[in-house]
């Protein structure tokens, strides 16, 4: 068990609806990240957190918001889903960057 779980694993939603993805860790790591994975773009950082209630934007943050009210949970919300947000979303955790990340299994989101 990698100590990090994402839910849901798959979701289909309609354009314009809000969607929340959850990342839960049991490692007590300080840093948590949300990436999206798209062909030809690799992984792009959406938002990240460096502590409870401490979050910041990544390179593709438009249309997304996050919250971290507890060390173990990092939520990603698509405020009004669009088809361009169809992607695979990965959560990652890290104690310190030089040790690398541990990734979740991903959430495949389809916006129709």
């Amino acid at each position: 068990d990698a100590g990090i779980t994402q839910s849901p694993r798959h979701k289909v939603t309609e354009t314009g609806t809000p969607v929340t993805l959850r990342c839960h860790q049991t490692e007590n790591h300080r840093y948590m990240y949300w990436y999206r994975q798209d062909p030809g773009h690799g992984l792009r950082l959406i938002h990240y957190s460096y502590g409870v209630k401490d979050t910041d934007k990544g390179e593709v943050s438009d249309g997304y918001s996050v919250s971290r009210s507890k060390t173990e949970d990092f939520l990603l919300t698509l405020e009004s889903a669009t088809s361009s947000q169809t992607s695979v979303y990965f959560c990652a955790i890290s104690e310190a960057g030089n040790y690398g990340y541990t990734f979740g299994s991903g959430t495949r989101l389809t916006v129709v």
């Binding site: 990698a2 990436y35 773009h41 990240y48 690398g100 991903g106």
Partner: protein, 110 residues
């Protein structure tokens, strides 16, 4: 700005042949580099870090500061090496972020 470039989207080699996945980075200081691998239907996992100078599953990667490269190599490819490979660079700006390249899909032909 820091950047990671993987010039090959797809690399196909025969089983038993040598493999080299290219990675170039842009960073003026001393970089911390990683290779991540994603096998079919599995999560991304760390393959190796340059600071530990390790060899995992027969793969090695050497940092070449003069060429700003961190190519991943394996002398004899195996079918189970087929996967998506990402080169990554630590972002020193804040929060231990890691910048990923666009990835190379490695396909090993029998």
């Amino acid at each position: 700005a820091q950047r990671v470039t993987q010039p090959e989207k797809l690399l196909s080699v025969f089983k038993g042949a040598p493999v080299e996945l290219k990675c170039n980075y842009s960073y003026s200081g001393s970089p911390e580099l990683f290779w991540y691998v994603q096998y079919s239907r599995q999560r991304l996992q760390l393959l190796l870090r340059h600071i530990s100078r390790e060899s995992i599953k027969g793969f090695t990667a050497d940092l070449n500061k003069g060429e700003t490269s961190f190519h991943l190599k394996k002398p004899f490819a195996q079918e189970e090496d087929s996967a998506m490979y990402y080169c990554a660079l630590k972002d020193y700006s804040s929060a231990s972020k890691i910048i990923f390249g666009s990835g190379t899909r490695l396909s090993i032909r029998p």
